[in-house]
Each structure stands twice: as C-alpha cells, then as structure tokens.
C-alpha cells in the first residue's frame, strides 16, 4: 500500500513549447503528487501532454513555470549539469519501444546504468534483478534475440538498477500483446508494492487500470477531475461516463464505448458481468 513519502510532486507546472503564434501549451498549471508504493495511471487523448508530463517529472525537460520535486529535491532549482545524476539515481524510465542498447546483452544493459562502481557487485545486482524478472536464462542474450515482453522486462530491470524512488513508464505495454502487457503491468505493481517505489504510467491501455491505485485523466494539458471513467464491460475499453451510452443491470450502471457494445450487453448482460467481475 502507498506510504506517506511523497516521491514526486509537481506544483503549478506549465509547459509551453515554442513562442508567439506557434506556442503550444502542453501542460497548463498542473498539480500532481505521488507517494511511495503507489501506482498511478495517467490517461488521455493523443496530444494531451502525457509524455510532456513524464519528461518533466523525470527531469528530462524543464517546465516553463512551476516546481518539480523528486524525492524531496526541487529539480527546477538545479543546474543543467546536475540533472543527469537525478535521472540516474532517483528515476527509472520505461519506454514504449524498450530502448535497450542493441550491442549490449541483457545483463550488460542493466549493469551499465548502475552507479555502483565495483563491477562485481553491479553485475551481481543486475543478475538478481533479471532473475527476479524471470530472465535468468536470458542474461547473455542480445536485445534482438529477445521477445518484446522479455525486452520490456530487461528495461524494467534497468529502471530498477539504482533502486530509484520513482518509476516513469510511457506506454509500457503498447508494443506488447495483451498477455505480455498484463504480465508487465503486474510486475510493475508488484515492484511498487514490494520495493515502495512510485510508479507513474502513461497509457491508453484500459487493462492497466486493474493494477493501478489511481487513474488520472489528462486533457489539453490539465488533469480533469470531473471526468469519471468506466470500463466498457463488453470490449474492455475505458470510456468517459459523461458521454457514453449506458445501461443498468442488477442495480449497477454500465457504460459503453459505442452502441454496438451496448446492444451486445443488452442481449446477454450475464455473460459480461460475470466474465469481468467474477
């Protein structure tokens, strides 16, 4: 369960790309905080500012205004030269396209980022992490010899290498099939629970909801508290309650992505309710 440590706090963060007529406000006075052990999911339409949010939260991009604290350090007050160390020590990144180094083995990809200077203990820890992620037989494999799910697990091991306070994942399951995606999500949740890290996930993937503590909706650069989302019991897609077709069954309301799903549901609600809520 989430603890009381605040690992990430954004206060009144605004990010404007470009100037003048070309200016795009990607984040608009955003406030956010995440606690240790917490898994937060950020959803929203394309262009909402999700990646911008993550890169600012990960000390990769400076906000136009506002403050960002990572594990108690106000990174907006740090020099440019000090930011890489923050990223390396306090943040773990997980990307949609895995982003492993192609000429390095799984083990080397993890070992590389470790701040631990002695090669042996770094290697040992890298091996432990990979074992924990079920990759003990893949240590010597190069990324192009690994499946997508395996690559993403190596990437997770790399994100965990320096035992960061914060893990930021941008669409971590987008390049995986649903079973592998599910697996990766459960791993992330387990890690948050076991290691007390905060995991912030940006995703379109509605299935991820199950494993998160909170889901936030980002749209036009703002978190919208008034958007209540629900999962379509037929296709599983996440939908905005406000605008969705709806039906009641056994005293509960269900929301649908489109009329088709609503019709399927009405034809046999039992099937969907049981399948999903068991």
């Amino acid at each position: 369960m989430p603890d009381s440590r605040v690992t990430l706090r954004l206060q009144n963060v605004t990010k404007v790309y470009g100037v003048g007529d070309a200016a795009v406000t990607a984040l608009d006075s955003v406030d956010f905080s995440a606690q240790g052990g917490e898994v937060v999911m950020i959803m929203g339409p394309s262009g909402a500012g999700k990646t911008t949010f993550l890169t600012i939260a990960g000390a990769l991009l400076r906000p136009t205004s506002g403050t960002v604290e990572i594990a108690g350090t106000d990174i907006t007050r740090l020099q440019e030269n000090d930011l890489p160390a923050v990223r390396r020590e306090k943040v773990g990144f997980i990307f949609q396209s895995f982003n492993l180094l192609e000429s390095l083995t799984a083990l080397e990809n993890v070992r590389l980022v470790m701040t631990d200077t002695t090669t042996r203990s770094a290697t040992n820890r890298a091996r432990e992490l990979l074992n924990m992620l079920g990759l003990s037989h893949r240590l010597k494999s190069l990324p192009n010899q690994l499946s997508g799910g395996e690559k993403q697990r190596v990437a997770i091991a790399r994100a965990l290498a320096n035992n960061p306070d914060l893990i930021l994942a941008d669409e971590p399951t987008a390049n995986l099939d649903s079973a592998r995606g599910q697996e990766v999500m459960h791993l992330l949740r387990q890690i948050a629970l076991d290691l007390g890290q905060s995991v912030v996930i940006v995703s379109h993937d509605h299935r991820i909801r199950e494993v998160t503590h909170r889901v936030l909706w980002l749209e036009d650069g703002r978190f919208r508290a008034d958007v209540i989302t629900a999962r379509d019991p037929v296709c599983g897609q996440l939908v905005e309650v406000e605008a969705a077709p709806t039906a009641s069954f056994n005293g509960r309301s269900y929301y649908f992505c489109a009329e088709q799903c609503l019709k399927l549901f009405e034809a046999g609600p039992q099937r969907y309710v049981e399948a999903n809520e068991g």
């Binding site: 990646t51 993550l54 890169t55 990960g58 990769l60 991009l61 030269n81 890489p84 160390a85 923050v86 990223r87 390396r88 020590e89 943040v91 990144f93 990307f95 949609q96 396209s97 982003n99 492993l100 180094l101 192609e102 000429s103 390095l104 080397e108 070992r111 590389l112 980022v113 790399r158 941008d170 669409e171 987008a174 390049n175």
Partner: protein, 370 residues
C-alpha cells in the same frame, strides 16, 4: 575502456577494419616516408661524419662532399698545413663523382683517392679482402657490390683505366652512388690531375677547439674553406635532401589527411547511426561527458590499432623493400615512431571532434517517441 565504447567499436567489425585500415595506411605512409628520409639522411652525410677528421679544407665556395667541386694545390697546401701548430696530422683527399663500367654496364660511383699513410678518408670498415688498395687496385663499398654484383676479383673500368677489385668496405653508400677507394697516386694518374687534390682532412691536437680553429685557418689562407666535419656533413645533407623536404612535407600532409578522412568519416557515421542509443543514455542519466568519452575511446582505440598495424607494416616492409629496391634505405628511429604516435593521436582527436559535437545536440526526449 567503457563497456559501451568497447561494444560499439567491436560489434561492427567491418567498420572497425575500415577505420583501422585507413589509419594504418596513413601511419604506414608517414612512417615509411619518414624512415626513408632518415635512411637517406644517414647515408648521405654518414661518411663525412664518420671519417676521422676534425676539419675539412676545401676551395672557397665548395658546397658539399658529393659534388666535390674543389681544387687545391697539393704541395703548397701541405707546406702551409705543416706550419700550423694546432694541426696534429693532415691528409690530402681526391674525391670525384664519376661513372665507371663493369662488363659494359654503367655504374655511378664516388671515387675517393686517399693517402694510405696516414689513411684519413679511406674506407671506414673493411668487410672483405685487402684493407688497403695497391696500384691499379680498388676497394668498393659493399652496397655497390650488392647492387651491381661487383665482387672481389672483378674489374671495373673507365675509358683510360682498369681497376681490379681487391676488397669490400662499408659506410660509403650515398644511395645514388657508392664510394670506391683507390690510392691518392692512383687517383691523380687516373684523373690526370697531378699536383692537385680536392680536400685536406685535418686532425687537430685539440679536437674540441675545431670550431675556433676553422675560422683561423680561413683567415690564414684566403680563398680556402675550413669547415668542421659535422658542418660539412650537414651541408652535404642539406644540398642533397634539402629540395626533397617540401615535397616530402606535402606527401606527409596528404597521408595525414587520408587517415583523418577515413577515420573521421567512419567515426562520424558510427556516431550518427547510434544517435538514438546516445539519446537513451542521456535519458537514463548519463552526462554529455560520459558520451564524449565513449566516442573518444572508440576513436583512440581505433587509432592505437591503426598505429600498431601501420608501424608494424613499416618495420616488416622496410628490409623487404630494400631487397627489391636498393634505394629504399629505411631507418626507423624511435623518436620518429614517437612522433608518428603523436600524429596519430592528433588524427583521432580531430576525427572524433565533429561527432562529439553532434552528441551534445542529441535530444534525450526524442527516445520517448516510438
């Protein structure tokens, strides 16, 4: 070496081979030309340097040993020198570049006629046969023997003379020609210049004073040049090799540019190809300095490999080339090897400069794009 640098470098074998090959070729050309120059330098001035003389006397205006354009009267000169207290011993010498024939084949030689008593200016080291030529006899340099197959017992001729080869010596190879040694009397007869010689070689009572004695001798006898052995050797080198230096410099610079271009291009394309990976490294918290080091290390290791290969080739090819082409006298000095190492270092640092500047411009945020 950093893990990433090592992996990047050695995972692309073909590219590594090309860049190492380019640098090696460049290093090979530079060190070979340099060694060739040193070899010639050594040969051209070596004889004058090694002869046991402190001061050479020649006609004023004489430029060097090889063209040997000097005429001095033998009697008058000898009397004058005998009267000078600082001179311990002296010996007249006749030197003349000329061509002779052996079995109808033309051979360029540097004829040296010396006085076997006291023997200054004669063969430096006897390798075979007699150590002093008699009348009608000649001692030839072993390089001449090797190049033209002149052996002890053979005869070499001019239009009006025949000389029987009675010995071989070393130290008289001037690349373009080799020394042959006869007695002073023999030379005077052959050249029909009785009473005249080319040089006088002096040994001083106090050799350390040669720099002071030389100008005094010149003052005593106007129209005469008195020059120390070292200066005369340097003048000879300058005369023969001086004109080669600008050409040599141009070729060396070109060789450097070839190496720089090949290594620069390969390092650049390698860096550009890996731009995304460098972006990943930046994103996960590696500093620009770390990335610079990754590229520099690759460049440096390429340079070291290219250098070793290039110098190794030079050492291997040197003696081999000399067998094929006698003029290919290669003399590898460790100072030059060190110099070439410095040049290689400069080459790879320059080659890495542009790619390194590119690294700074890589935006780590781009790696969030799929």
């Amino acid at each position: 070496m950093l893990l990433v640098a090592r992996k990047n470098l050695f995972s692309e074998r073909t590219r590594l081979a090309i860049s190492v090959g380019g640098i090696a070729l460049s290093v090979f050309m530079i060190s070979l030309l340099l060694s060739l120059f040193r070899g010639w330098n050594e040969k051209v001035g070596g004889f004058v340097e090694e002869v046991q003389a402190d001061i050479w006397i020649a006609r004023d205006g004489t430029t060097d040993f090889l063209s040997a354009a000097s005429i001095l009267p033998l009697e008058e000169g000898s009397q004058g020198l005998s009267a000078i207290d600082a001179v311990d011993r002296f010996s007249p010498l006749i030197v003349r570049p000329m061509s002779v024939t052996k079995d109808g084949k033309k051979i360029d030689v540097q004829l040296v006629g010396y006085d076997p008593e006291p023997g200054i200016g004669g063969p430096l080291r006897i390798e075979e046969g007699k150590d002093v030529p008699g009348p009608g006899e000649v001692i030839v340099d072993e390089a001449l023997s090797r190049r033209y197959g002149v052996e002890v017992g053979d005869t070499i001729s001019g239009r009006a003379f025949d000389l029987k080869v009675v010995g071989k010596s070393s130290g008289g190879d001037f690349v373009a020609m080799q020394a042959i040694f006869v007695t002073l009397d023999q030379a005077q007869t052959m050249l029909q210049q009785e009473g005249f010689v080319t040089f006088f070689l002096l040994q001083l009572k106090d050799p350390d004073r040669r720099d002071q004695v030389a100008p005094i001798l010149e003052a005593l006898q106007p129209g005469v040049l008195a020059i120390t052995s070292d200066d005369f050797a340097a003048a000879t080198r300058e005369r023969i090799l001086g004109p080669v230096i600008p050409i040599l410099t141009v070729i060396l610079v070109l060789a450097f540019i070839v190496g720089l271009a090949v290594s620069g291009l390969t390092i650049y394309t390698a860096t550009v190809e890996k731009a995304r990976e460098y972006g990943i490294l930046k994103a996960v918290g590696f500093t620009n300095r770390y990335l610079y080091r990754v590229v520099f290390e690759q460049s440096l290791v390429t340079g070291v490999l290219g250098f070793l290969l290039g110098v190794g080739l030079t050492l291997l090819a040197g003696p081999f080339a000399q067998d094929l082409v006698p003029q290919f006298v290669v003399f590898v000095r460790w100072q030059d090897v060190l110099g070439v190492a410095g040049v290689t270092l400069l080459m790879v640092l320059l080659a890495a400069y542009v790619p390194v500047r590119r690294l700074a411009a890589i935006d780590p945020v781009a790696v969030f794009k799929a």
